[in-house]
């Protein structure tokens, strides 16, 4: 039986100290949904990276902004939208910036793009949009979930 997805909203001050709250909320929701320990750890990293980008890039011109998270718990998947209403982050340029570092020497590697790479490597689907602010939509399917 397919039930209506549950929607949970969380709005946090765009401060590094608050990203922990996003991780804890994600932990609660994904545990309740029955995700494996490994999947939960993957999602924690990915969601925190999306929040990092908001804290680091979105609100340089304004005093106080928010990180807005929406968790949609479906039967077979969890979708997390992380959005802000600040300056758009140039996701396209930063994506896949030479990571993973295979075949490179230490002199040639850079930490830029690590966060986006991790989101893409750890989630099943990642969509990025820029309109009034930035939006990242992260999806993870529950392993072994029925259709």
């Amino acid at each position: 039986m397919i039930s209506e997805p549950k929607r949970i909203f969380l709005s946090l001050p765009a401060e590094a100290e608050c990203i922990d709250i996003a991780r804890l909320t994600l932990y609660g929701i994904s545990s309740q949904m029955g995700f494996s320990y490994e999947d939960i750890e993957d999602m924690k990293v990915a969601v925190a990276e999306a929040c990092n980008n908001v804290v680091l890039h979105a609100y340089q011109e304004v005093e106080q902004g928010t990180i807005d998270l929406e968790f949609i718990a479906g039967d077979a998947e969890l979708t997390i939208t992380v959005s802000d209403s600040g300056a758009s982050f140039p996701y396209d340029q930063a994506a896949h910036a030479g990571i993973p570092y295979e075949g490179k020497s230490l002199e040639d590697i850079s930490a830029g793009g690590l966060g986006i790479y991790l989101m893409q490597a750890l989630m099943d689907r990642v969509e990025m949009e820029q309109e009034s602010g930035s939006k990242v939509v992260l999806t993870k399917y529950r392993t072994g979930a029925s259709d």
Partner: protein, 115 residues
């Protein structure tokens, strides 16, 4: 769920500095992490990051480790890791940092997985 707050301490030995990092290394504590390790960068002794009690790392923490690796490498000095938990190692493997991070060869034989 492991909810240990980030903490770190440095132990100086005859031929090395061991930096014990524990808890969650993320953007909120990145400056603290950097400020403790930065003074060790010029040291001629080996710098070892002991990650036994590290429960989480994000791209900011990994970025700082890459910075330290590059700095130490330029000076021809060693930076290594020990006791890397499996979930941290997974992220190092995924990004490819692993191959730049030698596992400290202590008194017992070093294991490739660092655990």
């Amino acid at each position: 769920m492991d909810r240990k707050k980030f903490d770190m301490s440095v132990k100086e030995n005859a031929d090395s500095h061991t930096v014990y990092v524990s808890g969650e290394l993320d953007l909120a504590v990145a400056a603290q992490f950097r400020s403790v390790i930065e003074p060790l960068l010029p040291s001629d002794k080996e710098v070892i990051l002991n990650m036994r009690d590290l429960s989480y790392i994000d791209s900011t923490g990994m970025g700082i480790i890459i910075f330290f690796l590059k700095e130490r490498n330029e000076g021809g000095k060693a930076l290594s890791v020990e006791n890397v938990p499996q979930k941290i190692k997974k992220l190092f493997d995924l990004t490819g940092i692993t191959r730049f991070l030698p596992v400290h060869d202590g008194s017992s034989a070093a294991k490739a997985d660092g655990v």
